[in-house]
């Protein structure tokens, strides 16, 4: 029997696959080393440290009330976690972040989707509008936070919504000096900054919907709302997944705007800021407790992200 001839391309493929195999570790090593040094090792060390009486520059031995000479002397079990959950400021920050996230996720996505749909339905001049709406995203949260601090403290309070103004609204005055009002101030700032970004994603999603869907619906006499409900929304499910994921993650990690607007005063600390300030709340600084909060923070973000992606991807349409 004559053996099947080996094709030249198969040989070449074999050679190149061998080269890839040989070079896999050398080429992936820079990424792995960098990743290990900056993310993986600190993450593991952080997890371990959350069970220790860590004071930042040294480890404390609670039994002898002095510096620990070995790793095990500093072990305090779940004490840091217990303290974190008993810490009123941490629990406040936790609920404040949740409340903020709920309001922000809804507001940002509604505004972004509305802008995307509006821009999609005008024939001319969408480009400049898109540029303007996206612009705030390019700028830092800290810088923008300072401008908005001025807007809330002076423009809102003394001009737009003052008692003698056309539109007197006490709720919109002194927004940076009250726990609840500051939450909405943060939402206003972040809708202003972030909606343009999400709008871009929704726009890309809208462009992927075949126009004949709408034409067919129009022939059947569907109203604009029916078309939106029955075509646009189901076809945009993957955009919803992305936008919800991004806004939720961003809401939980929000820091710059929180620092710039109120700096956590009036009980307005969110989780990211709380973790940053825990080490300043006591002397000596309790890094162990801060690290326990950081681990809890990671668990919260991981759980929410996974649930959210699962829940929305299930509803994505394949076509």
């Amino acid at each position: 029997m004559i053996p099947k001839p080996i094709r030249l391309t198969t040989i070449i493929e074999g050679i190149i696959m061998n080269i890839y195999k040989k070079w896999f570790w050398p080429l992936v090593a820079p990424a792995l080393i960098l990743f290990a040094a900056v993310v993986l090792v600190p993450f593991i060390v952080g997890f371990v440290n959350s069970f220790l009486a860590w004071r930042g520059t040294y480890y404390f031995n609670p039994e002898t009330n002095s510096r620990a000479t070995s790793f095990f002397q500093s072990f305090v079990g779940l004490t840091n976690y217990k303290e974190a959950f008993q810490d009123e400021r941490f629990m406040n920050a936790f609920w404040y972040t949740i409340k903020y996230a709920i309001v922000a996720v809804i507001s940002i996505n509604v505004v972004a989707l509305a802008l995307a749909v509006f821009l999609d339905s005008i024939s001319k001049g969408a480009g400049p509008f898109r540029t303007i709406f996206f612009l705030p995203n390019m700028l830092g949260g800290l810088a923008l936070g300072f401008i908005w601090q001025f807007i809330f403290q002076i423009v809102y309070t003394d001009i737009l919504f003052a008692p003698d103004a056309l539109l007197h609204a006490e709720f919109l005055r002194y927004m940076t000096q009250d726990t609840t009002k500051a939450l909405f101030a943060l939402v206003i700032l972040n809708v202003w900054q972030y909606a343009g970004y999400m709008m871009i994603i929704y726009t890309a999603g809208l462009n992927n919907i075949p126009t004949d869907f709408y034409e067919a619906a129009s022939l059947d006499g569907a109203t604009a709302w029916q078309k939106f409900r029955k075509i646009t929304v189901p076809m945009l499910m993957s955009s919803f997944t992305i936008c919800l994921f991004m806004v939720i993650a961003n809401s939980f990690k929000l820091l710059d705007q929180n620092v710039a607007l109120t700096d956590g005063d009036f009980n307005t600390r969110m989780l990211a800021l709380q973790i940053l300030r825990t080490t300043k709340d006591s002397t000596p600084p309790n890094y162990g407790k801060a690290q326990a909060q950081a681990v809890i923070f990671f668990v919260i973000i991981a759980i929410i992200s996974i649930i959210q992606v699962r829940a929305t991807s299930k509803r994505e349409l394949e076509y």
Binding site: I12, E13, I16, Y20, K21, W23, F24, L27, V28, P30, A31, L34, F35, A37, V38, V39, L40, V41, F43, V45, G46, G56, L115, F118, L119, I122, S123, G125, T131, I132, F133, L135, M138, L139, G140, G141, L142, A143, I147, F150, I154, V155, I159, G196, Y197, I200, I242, F252, K253, L255, D256, A260, A272, L276, Y287, Q291, A294, F297, F298, I306
Partner: protein, 298 residues
């Protein structure tokens, strides 16, 4: 019959026209709303504190650059601009090089190890910076890397996960045939990467550059933790190596001790965002496209 048809058609177009009019009006209002804070920023960068409080919305009575000059001195504008640009460019370069070559070889060498590494990077996107920052600063401090080079390495490590993920998605679309052809032409592995693969990954590279630059340029927390308010002794002269955002933060803190001197804050914010606004306006087409592409692939 024919007449009634044209009447409804006329109605239809009139209705469309009104709808469009309303849409344009709403969009224009939103655009004004979006630009209003930037208008406040510009006009108030030329006013004294008294004038800012008295007439925050009006044009300045005289357009004087003195407040801007003062603010530029306060935030060491030129040195901090150079530091920020240096850190951003090198960090992004590091991210692009390391993640593109890593993602490429991960796609090309489909083994269990390769899949595991990819999974590791993907899962790492869930890790928030806050849960690693304290140990990170401690470890880098022990290694003598609480400085600008350390900052660049940290950005490199943090940008890696998302960038590797993006590259991974795009490399799958590069046909193996072109790489085989390059091999026959005598290219080695690095030549295949730089002459064949990278040019085909141009669009995702633009996305990776944009997303990482936006974040690194504006970041406040990492420079705050790494550099803080320290001074560097370079040749007997005490200088600071702060980024723009960090300078802005400390300028605000300092100013805050004596109330709210908006005459310092406004021009500081103004000059610190100018570079980013210029970059955006000149590259807006790529930026908007790049951002959309990045989000859709992830």
């Amino acid at each position: 019959m024919a007449e009634s048809y044209t009447v409804t058609e006329g109605n239809y177009f009139r209705k469309k026209k009104i709808q469009h009019g309303i849409l344009y009006a709403v969009l224009t209002l939103v655009a004004i709303y979006t630009l209003a804070p930037l208008y406040f920023l510009i006009v108030n960068s030329f006013k004294s504190n008294v004038e800012i409080i008295a007439s925050p919305l009006a044009f300045p009575t005289t357009w004087t650059a003195s407040y801007i000059v003062e603010a530029a001195k306060q935030i060491h504008f030129f040195s901090s601009l150079v530091v920020t640009a240096f850190v951003t460019v090198l960090s992004v370069l590091l991210i692009v090089l390391v993640s593109s070559i890593g993602a490429w070889i991960m796609v090309r060498n489909k083994t269990k190890a390769s899949n595991f590494v990819y999974l590791l990077f993907t899962a790492a996107m869930l890790i928030p910076f806050q849960s690693v920052m304290y140990p990170l600063i401690q470890i880098f401090g022990d290694m003598g890397l609480k400085n600008i080079p350390g900052l660049i390495i940290m950005y490199g490590g943090f940008g890696l996960a998302m960038s590797t993920f993006l590259y991974h998605g795009f490399v799958k679309g590069v046909p193996l045939g072109v790489e085989e052809a390059a091999l026959i032409d005598g290219c080695n592995i690095f030549q295949i990467y730089s002459n064949v693969v990278m040019p085909l990954l141009q669009s995702v590279t633009v996305t990776v550059i944009i997303l990482n630059s936006m974040w690194i340029w504006n970041d406040y927390l990492l420079p705050f933790l790494v550099i803080g308010n320290s001074t560097v002794n370079s040749g007997g002269i005490l200088t600071t190596h702060k980024t723009l955002t960090l300078e802005l933060y400390f300028a605000r803190i300092l100013a805050g001790q004596y109330g709210n001197p908006w005459q310092l804050i406004f021009p500081s914010v103004f000059i610190s965002i100018i570079p980013m606004v210029i970059v955006f306006l000149s590259l807006q087409k790529y930026i908007v496209k790049g951002v959309a592409a990045g989000a859709i692939k992830s």
